[in-house]
Structure formats: C-alpha cells, structure tokens
Amino acid sequence: MTAIGNHSRPVSAFLGAAPERFREWIMSRQVHLIVFCATAIVIGAGSYGLAVGIWRGPWQALYTGIKLPLAILLTTLGNGLLNGMLAPLLGLNVTFRQSLAVVLMSFAVAAMVLGALSPVALFIVWNTPPLTAGTTSSSPEYGLLQLALAGFVALAGVIGNVRLMPLLRLWTGSAAVARNVLLAWLAGNLFLGSQICWVLRPFIWDARRPVEFIGPDPFQGSFFETIFNAGSRLVFS
C-alpha cells in the first residue's frame, strides 16, 4: 500500500489519485493524510495569502499568509463534530475522524490550487497601482484586483468540491446521498467560514486603519447581519 509521503511527487500523487485510492488512504493512513492535508493547506493557502496581502505591504502579506490557512483550519475543526454527525444521518457511514479527513482533503485540493495560482495572483497584484492617495476602494483597479482574487478562491473551492464528489459517490453507492452530504457540509462550512473570515478581517486592506493582524472590534457584527442590513438599505431606501 502506497502512502502519500512515499511518493517522489506527493502533490501530483494526491491531486491525481483515484477515489478508490483516497478511500484507501482514509481507511488505512488517516493520520498521515490529515497531517499531509494540513501541511498542504498551510503552504498553499499561506502562499496565496502572502500574494494577496503584499499589495498592502509586507506585514499585511505575513498576516494574510497566516490568516487564510487559519480560517480554513478553524472552519474544518469548528464544524468537525457537526460534519461527523450529519454524514451518517444523511447516509454516509463514516467515523468522526474519517469525515474530518475527507473535509480536510477537499480543502487541501483547494489550497494546492490556490498555491499554484499564487504566482498569478502576485502578478496581478504587481500590476495593480499601489495603495496611495490616488487609489481608493472605488477605483476600478482595486475592483479588478478584488474580483480576480475572489475568483481564484471560488475556482479553487469549486475544484476542491468537485474532487470530493466521486469519493462520496464511491463510499455511499448513491449519487443522491453523496450530493446531500456534500451540500450539507458545504452549507455548514460556508456559514461558519464566512463568519470566521469576518472575524479575522482584513485580508487585503482596511483604508481607515494601519496594517494590523486583526482589525478593531473583530467580534462586532457578523457577515450575514452586514449582508442583511445592506440588502434592507438597498430595498427600503
């Protein structure tokens, strides 16, 4: 049985592995897989964070390089119990540790994609006019930067979930059950993850503040409250 770490090219082995191989790793090399995935998240998402934050300055690059993998890991751990309970209730008979490994695996794929895109992100950042008095949050350049960086995150997330689906289908034997489990995990992770990102903001910059690890009042308000209030203002004013 081949462990990931024994490969000469572990990243390509991980990304190219068939669903049967993933299941084998989850059943027999769980701890190795979890460590490998966590490492991949730290390195991949970390390097993307560095590329995103460098636009503001070197310290922001460091902070975002730490916060982006932290957001992913905190989301996975925070929802670990819930994901582990929802899976068997929806028809996927896995243990808590196995569900944690599966979720980490999909985040690791996404993080590897982000890591691969970090040079591209860096290039976009390098081409964007620096943060000066002339650049504001309403500048088209800043808008393009935001779109591109968010787009890369969305792409990586989609790829991570697409890689998860065949594994769930193999495990459950049913496309419907696999889809329900994936959607439930996705909803839970998006819900908690968006709030964790809200707490850990800013990732790119905050025009009103100097560079700092976390903004003031991180626990003031919530992501969804802000969306709801913005929507209310849009509709009712």
């Binding site: 190219g16 191989r21 209730l89 919530s222 409250e225």
Partner: protein, 261 residues
C-alpha cells in the same frame, strides 16, 4: 506523474461492504440484521448507534430492560442541552450563564412530557402496536439526537454569539439550529413509527406540528433565555408570535437594546 502501481487488493482494513439496498416492497423487520441485536451498554455506544444504526436503537427499545437505555438517552439529552444552554447564555453572560442552560434543559423535558400522552394516542389511533415504553423510548431518542446535533452546532452558535449584539438575529439563528436538529430527531421518530405496523402517518404528522408549537411556546414561557430582564421568569403571559413581534419592534426602535453583562 501519477502512480503506476495497480490498485492493491482489498485490504482487511477496508470497511465491510455496505449491505445492498433491498428492492422496494421487501421491508426488513427490526432485528433481522444481527448487528441490530447487539446491546447498547453505554452512552458512547448509544451516540454511535443513534447516528449510524438507528434501527439498533429501535430494536433495543423493544427488548426487556429498555428502561436502562431510555434513562441513558434522557440523561444525555439533559447534559447536551445544558452544554448548549451555556453557549446560548454567553450572548448576555452574567445570570444567563446558568439560567439559560437550566431553562433550555427543563423546557425541553417538560415539552416532551406534555406531548407524550398525545403521541401515544396518535400512534395507537394509527394502528401502531408499539407499547407506551417503546413510544417513550422513541421520544427519548428524538431528544437525544436533537441535543447531540445542537452540540455540533455549538461552535458555530458561539462564534456568532460573540460577534453580534442583535437579539433577533441570535434568536433566529438558535431557532434555525434547533429546527434543523429537530428535523433529524423527528426522522428517527418517524422511522421508529413506521416499524411499528402503523397504517397511517396522519396522526404522527399532526403530533409533529403540536410538538413544534409547544416547544416554541415554551421558549416564550421561560423567557428571557437570550437577553436580560429584571426577573428570571416572565411576569406576564404572551404567545410566542406576540413576543417575537415585540422583540423585532424593540430592535427596530433601539438597535443597541442588548446589554452585555
């Protein structure tokens, strides 16, 4: 480069194959699968069983000595609801750190007790042959599954509790989590019900509506659970819709209406 080695033979460490799904029209009886006949000796096994092998729990509720299993499930429900109550109480802090868990745990148990006689009646009217002990056990299973799922939501609830001062928002969030957890609990109850030779589900569906209304009203009867007030229990009577309306109006008129102690 992808790994060129062929896939290894199925290892002994791989999980046993999932039993094939029986064709429609061939219902399995409880206890047909030998794994369902294994006893449930402790709380950890009970949690695993209700998540992964609910039919095992249903089968054990029909055996002599089901009282021990029911007591275990009820105790776990109380403990889990106390833990979730502490998370709820962190929104306001202070007195709510102990009052909220006590109210949530006791409110849940009292709601179940209020609805148990009507559950037995509706199951009998539907033709079910389940005894009162078995019905009580299914209700205990519903409570246990609901509360352990609430524990799963606890980290999410906590982080939002610390992030907002909006009472209606947090109330809605807790209600949403409770509702999702209750849906899974009711699925367990309905599965148990369908294994008891019931001819119709109309009675059970009616009881579900009654149970939801009672539980929701109990949160108003024991208010405040999230916010703060001068007294532990309310001095006036209100139905839950009136109470929610009043909370929303208060929020619109004075957004910073909650105080953190």
């Amino acid at each position: 480069m992808n790994d060129q080695n062929p896939l290894p033979p199925v290892s002994a460490q791989l999980p046993p194959p999932i039993p094939p799904v029986l064709p429609a029209g061939q219902p399995r009886r409880l206890g047909d699968d030998p794994s369902e006949r294994l006893a449930i000796p402790n709380v950890v096994v009970a949690i695993e069983a209700i998540l992964r092998q609910p039919r095992r729990v249903m089968f054990q509720l029909r055996q002599p000595g089901a009282g021990h299993l029911i007591a275990m499930m009820l105790s776990l429900s109380v403990v889990c609801s106390l833990i979730y109550g502490v998370v709820v109480g962190t929104f306001s802090g202070g007195v709510q750190l102990w009052a909220a868990p006590v109210k949530i745990a006791s409110g849940l148990m009292i709601s179940a007790l209020i609805c148990l006689p009507s559950l037995y009646i509706f199951t009998c009217l539907s033709g079910s042959r389940a005894r009162l002990v078995e019905i009580f056990g299914l209700l205990a299973g519903l409570l246990m599954l609901m509360t352990i799922l609430l524990i799963g939501f606890a980290p999410v609830a906590w982080i939002f509790s610390q992030s907002t001062e909006s009472l209606p928002w947090m109330g809605t969030l807790h209600l949403a989590f409770w509702f999702i957890a209750t849906i899974f609990g009711l699925r367990f109850l309905e599965a148990g019900f369908s294994n008891s030779e019931a001819r119709s589900r109309a009675g059970l569906n009616t009881w579900v509506v009654i149970f939801l209304l009672v539980a929701v009203q109990m949160t108003t009867a024991l208010r405040p659970i999230l916010g703060t007030a001068d007294t532990i229990l309310p001095t006036g009577k209100k139905f839950f819709l009136a109470h929610w309306g009043a909370c929303l109006s208060a929020e619109n008129n004075a957004p910073a209406s909650r105080s953190r102690n």
